[in-house]
């Protein structure tokens, strides 16, 4: 890692869930170990991608990092503070440092609330003053995520999927977080909209300087946004490293299997298309 302290350190995280119905007449319910001794670090201005297939435990790790659920054992340290056992006012402070953007904006945004109510909710919930008033604050945030600020009175149903996801991102930004956790935040979007949201997430990070934990099953998306990658399977991190290391020189067998399974557009076709486009652009100029 770097010589400076990382923003977030997770040590030996374990999460077990009881599995109802697994017990029989003579057996108790088993516990299922969804996360099995995961340790990782997220540096300042860094994007750590957690990748893996369904059931790998990546979302459970993210939820523990955001303290949406408590770990069975292990610690999470944010900015030098152990947040694993925070409560009361200190937990409130932590909540404004870490924000989550979920996969489906329509289920994570209250359909009865306007954009203004949605975006200012985290501040009101924490009893904080809204700088410059709710209206001006909302409009400014909407502009930053590329939404028309005159739409601040609209409700989620009046937006397309990509626009609604921008509202979700605006809400995450409202409290000026240090860490934004994106849980499959671009997975449900059409490819052209997905590219726009990826560009937006990257430019916001450049401007605001926060870090991302980016959870995704789509490795091609991860390649576009991550600085480091942690590969998870069956509750464990099997490989962690810089993005290009992991993609270009995967060390673990599972990472290799995962990378090999991804459908690819024939690189020769791709190269030919780029070549023809360049030739066309040159001829035009």
């Amino acid at each position: 890692m770097t010589d400076t302290e990382p923003l977030l350190v997770a040590r030996n995280l374990v999460k077990e869930f009881p599995v109802s119905g697994t017990g029989g007449l003579f057996r108790r319910d088993k516990t299922f170990r969804a996360v099995d001794d995961v340790s990782l670090e997220v540096g300042y201005r860094e994007t750590l991608a957690l990748v893996g297939e369904s059931g790998s435990g990546k979302s459970t790790v993210a939820r523990m990092l955001a303290r949406l659920i408590n770990p069975t054992s292990g610690t999470v340290i944010l900015d030098g503070t152990d947040v694993t056992s925070l409560s009361g006012a200190k937990l409130h402070d932590f909540r404004s440092s870490v924000q989550v953007v979920f996969q489906d904006p329509f289920s994570s945004l209250n359909p009865r609330h306007s954009v203004e109510e949605l975006v200012t909710a985290p501040l009101r919930y924490q009893g904080r003053q809204i700088p410059g008033g709710a209206r001006a604050f909302t409009r400014e945030l909407m502009e930053r995520v590329g939404l028309d600020p005159t739409w601040s009175g609209r409700h989620p149903a009046q937006f397309s999927g990509g626009q609604a996801q921008r509202v979700g991102i605006a809400r995450a930004l409202a409290v000026q977080p240090k860490l934004v956790i994106c849980d499959e935040a671009v997975s449900a979007l059409d490819v052209s909209v997905q590219a726009q949201i990826i560009n937006l997430l990257r430019s916001l990070q450049r401007e605001e300087g926060f870090s991302y934990v980016f959870i995704a099953h789509d490795l091609a998306v991860v390649r576009q946004i991550a600085t480091r990658v942690a590969v998870m399977t069956q509750g464990q991190v099997v490989e962690i490293g810089s993005r290009d290391e992991v993609f270009d020189h995967p060390q673990h067998e599972y990472t290799r299997t995962l990378l090999a399974a991804i459908p690819r557009i024939n690189p020769r076709w791709e190269a030919r298309r780029r070549h023809l486009e360049r030739a066309k652009a040159e001829a035009a100029s």
Binding site: S160, S192, V193, A220, R223, Q224, A261, R273
Partner: protein
């Protein structure tokens, strides 16, 4: 369908398309206006060919497949011509269409769980579908067909697992069960609508490989509908790109990917995230989401 009929259809000249769609229009008429979701779409599928229909949400790709199967939602109308092996499907009444559907054209959907009845074993469901299309087949024979078709999609230990309920299978295995159900009928054409979208990438690779294997072994045609350009590029040989119900561009797969003619296709290809390298600023469609109207956004 009897064997002699099947032989006749196989005797057709190779250049005659197996499916020919002309001027297909799907619309939802309302009191105020008619909302067309597919406009005058025409395409051909050669015998044993594999056609990919790609587009973003609202492009009309799924409506096209539902129109072929006459499974459009209530309130939708279709016009134009759909000729499948010399049969004009749009002229068929429901009972005749029902014999085509399932037994000659099979359809595989994205979500196998919603297509399987949780109260019956998968074997019973495959057998029941088979007997619905093959009169005079005994339960015992149908049960054997169920096991055989599960073996054909590489479900190990099929003789035992034929008695499993859907919830006892993983998502990928359920999709195999759906494909097994489709295969039991020995269809001439398989229409798969986002068959791997809900699946993990390693399972997706297996299912796509399976579809290709089936095509090679049985000579069935395939229409693969997906939003995923990389998936069609590996699985099909002809491509149709759709947007807002219109055909944007069509052609052989290599041509679409190396020499796209339409701006929209080019931009779609540019927007696909690359696994092999990182691009600093991904190019996107000019109609930036920022100021598009919500209805436009919903169509995109």
């Amino acid at each position: 369908m009897t064997n002699s009929q099947r032989d006749q259809t196989l005797d057709q000249p190779a250049d005659r398309p197996m499916l020919s769609v002309r001027d297909l229009t799907v619309a939802f008429p309302t009191a105020k206006a008619t909302n067309e979701v597919v406009h005058h779409l025409s395409f051909d599928l050669p015998p044993g060919g594999a056609l990919g229909i790609v587009g973003e949400s609202g492009s009309g790709k799924s409506m096209t497949s539902l129109a072929i199967m006459n499974l459009l939602p209530p309130g939708a109308t279709r016009s134009g011509s759909i000729v499948f092996r010399d049969t004009e499907l749009t002229a068929l009444r429901e009972p005749a269409m029902r014999t085509v559907r399932g037994s000659r054209i099979a359809m595989i959907f994205q979500d196998p769980l919603s297509c399987l009845n949780p109260y019956y074993t998968v074997g019973d469901q495959i057998a029941e579908a088979y007997r619905a299309h093959r009169h005079g087949v005994s339960r015992r024979q149908a049960h054997r067909v169920a096991i055989e078709s599960m073996e054909r999609v590489h479900i190990r230990d099929a003789a035992r697992r034929v008695n499993y309920y859907p919830h006892q299978f993983s998502g990928g295995m359920r999709q195999r069960v759906m494909i097994a159900m489709a295969l039991s009928m020995e269809p001439e054409l398989i229409i798969a609508d986002e068959p791997t979208t809900a699946l993990d990438v390693t399972v997706q690779a297996q299912i796509l490989g399976l579809l290709t294997e089936i095509r090679e072994n049985t000579g069935a045609g395939l229409i693969l509908i997906t939003h995923d350009l990389a998936v069609v590029s590996e699985t099909t040989d002809q491509i149709i790109v759709m947007r807002h119900g219109d055909l944007v561009e069509s052609g052989p797969v290599e041509q679409i990917f190396s020499e796209p003619r339409a701006d929209y296709t080019r931009m779609l290809l540019d927007a696909v995230p690359r696994i092999d390298d990182a691009i600093d600023d991904m190019r996107t469609l000019p109609s930036s989401a920022a100021h598009e109207t919500p209805t436009e956004g919903a169509r995109l």
